[in-house]
Amino acid sequence: MSKDIYVIAEQRDGVLAKVGKELIGEATKLAADLGEKVVAVVLGSKIKEEAAKLYAYGADEVVVIDNPVLKSYTTEPYAKALTELIAKCEPNIVLFGATSIGRDLAPRVAGRVHTGLTADCTGLAIDEETKLLLMTRPAFGGNIMATIVCKDYRPQMATVRPGVMKALEKDASKTGEVKVLDVALTAADMNVEILEEVKETKKAVDITEAKILVSGGRGIGSAKGFDMLRECAAELGGEVASSRSCVDAGWIESDRQVGQTGKTVRPELYIACGISGAIQHVAGMENSEFVVSINKNDTAAIFSVSDLGVVGDVNVIIPKLTEALKKYNAEKNN
């Protein structure tokens, strides 16, 4: 009988990704509804010590599959290891981060074990009657939401976008033994050869981690508009983000993009500057705690998802806001 919720917690360079902790946080709620356990699974090489940290984030059990072949991510060894884990442990539910790793690995594994997989979920719940996992995700570019179930096959599998779920507060008092699952993997299991692996430092900024985002849309007029936003963001101790149109126009790097095809963010403050509020954009920022939007058009859709909407010219208001913040910060520091 299939049971328990398995979270595949991703690591890169031996460091756990935030999304795994978020998924464990969410899984603890689902597990409570089901009366099952949360098992965190980490695949990697010499990863035991790092994996143990997941107890503090709510895992009931931590399992590692530790093998030199799993040091860098490649599809086949990871898929083989997970397929074996699923065969041995018979999980009820398996969750992955919807990252460039999770979205490569999960479909391959779901295909191999022949079960259903729901991509990029933004909501998970347990059906009270059937105890099925209700997997809710946006479709049609965020225009509609669909709730998907996987009735007849196990495990029920889903990928979940980073930034959507909340990790539990770290509780250092929670510890446990890390279990090791032995999977026979050799270099022969790799069907691709890694010629080179290069970290891209320009991508160091992770807007999903930022507490404050000052985000620009077409209304800021040009790439130069982002200089103005950067100055404002610096005063707020935040980062600059963007709508898709600015990325398409080449005004800013794509890793700053918020929305359906970009990132999902939930900062404490989101200032939308000259962003019309297309549904695809809103899909990526609607969980922000406080939204201020500035737009010339008084019927802009962004106002309907804003706590404070300001009708006006961003190119006038933002420099004035930056000045006001400078003054405020200077006074605060005196």
Binding site: E200, G309, L325
Partner: protein, 262 residues
């Protein structure tokens, strides 16, 4: 090199609007296009063919109307087009779709299969890897560059959020194309004329039934089902002010202080 590109015809989701009264999707008049990532895949295939010789076959599963998408691919320069169309395929989720498409691909001879990373109507990114799994060949997803190596292998720049890998993979294999893989060319006039002179081969359930398990396709064969769909509840609007810039800045500052954000 024999290259097969799998494409999907999708509604242009950027043109989809919500009816403000009923809060439902207005689908009428929404143009159908070749999924953007798939189109980049077609371009990458055509470029490889120009360098190495060979053929580019384009495959699409969909309703009869998807013929238009295949004609467009032919007009861009693809050699052959195959439409997999049958009521039995309808309602397939990603597993079932991959099962059907793989059955069609098994009728072909291929070195390299290219799919788009994801389709803009579903955004799942699952069908490409699941086709590779069904065919038992290696996959490289999130391909930002592709070139061939001397020994017939391909070298793919595989993009991650924070890094890339250069991967060498033996053929036959499947790669999923990011839209930045290649900038699609336009159709030429002669290409369009040729496209309508060419035959789009149709594969029905009967044609591929020996390559698939009929219990694994269509709505019934899909492991996942849509329980319900709904339009999103939008967050309630707050206040909207239309005042002078100085007053607006003061209001913003007051709010940020009130909310302890600054």
């Amino acid at each position: 090199m024999k290259i097969v590109v799998c494409i999907k015809q999708v509604p242009d989701t950027t043109e989809v609007k919500l009816d403000p009264k009923t809060n439902t999707l207005i689908r009428d008049g929404v143009p159908s296009i070749i999924n953007p990532d798939d189109k980049a895949g077609i371009e990458a295939a055509l470029t490889l063919k120009e360098q190495l010789g060979g053929t580019v076959t384009v495959v699409c599963m969909g309703p009869p109307q998807a013929d238009v998408a295949l004609r467009e691919a032919l007009a861009m320069g693809c050699d052959d087009a195959i439409l997999m169309s049958d009521r039995a395929f309808g309602g397939s989720d990603t597993y079932a779709t991959a099962h059907v498409i793989a059955a069609g691909l098994k009728t072909l001879d291929y070195d390299l299969i290219i799919t788009g990373r994801q389709a803009i109507d579903g955004d799942t990114a699952q069908v490409g890897p699941q086709i590779a799994e069904q065919l038992g060949i290696p996959q490289v997803s999130y391909a930002a560059e592709v070139k061939t190596a001397e020994d017939g292998a391909v070298v793919v720049k595989r993009q991650f959020e924070d890094r890339y890998q250069l991967l060498k993979v033996k053929t036959p294999c499947l790669i999923t194309a990011l839209s930045e893989l290649a900038q699609p060319r336009y159709m030429t006039v002669s290409g369009i004329v040729n496209a309508y002179n060419k035959e789009v081969k149709v594969l029905t359930f009967e044609d591929v039934k020996n390559n698939l398990n009929p219990d694994f396709i269509g709505l019934k064969g899909s492991p996942t089902n849509v329980k319900q769909s709904f339009t999103k509840q939008v967050k309630g609007a707050g206040t909207v002010i239309n005042v002078s810039a100085d007053e607006a800045v003061k209001t913003i500052m007051d709010k940020l202080i009130e909310k302890h954000i600054i």
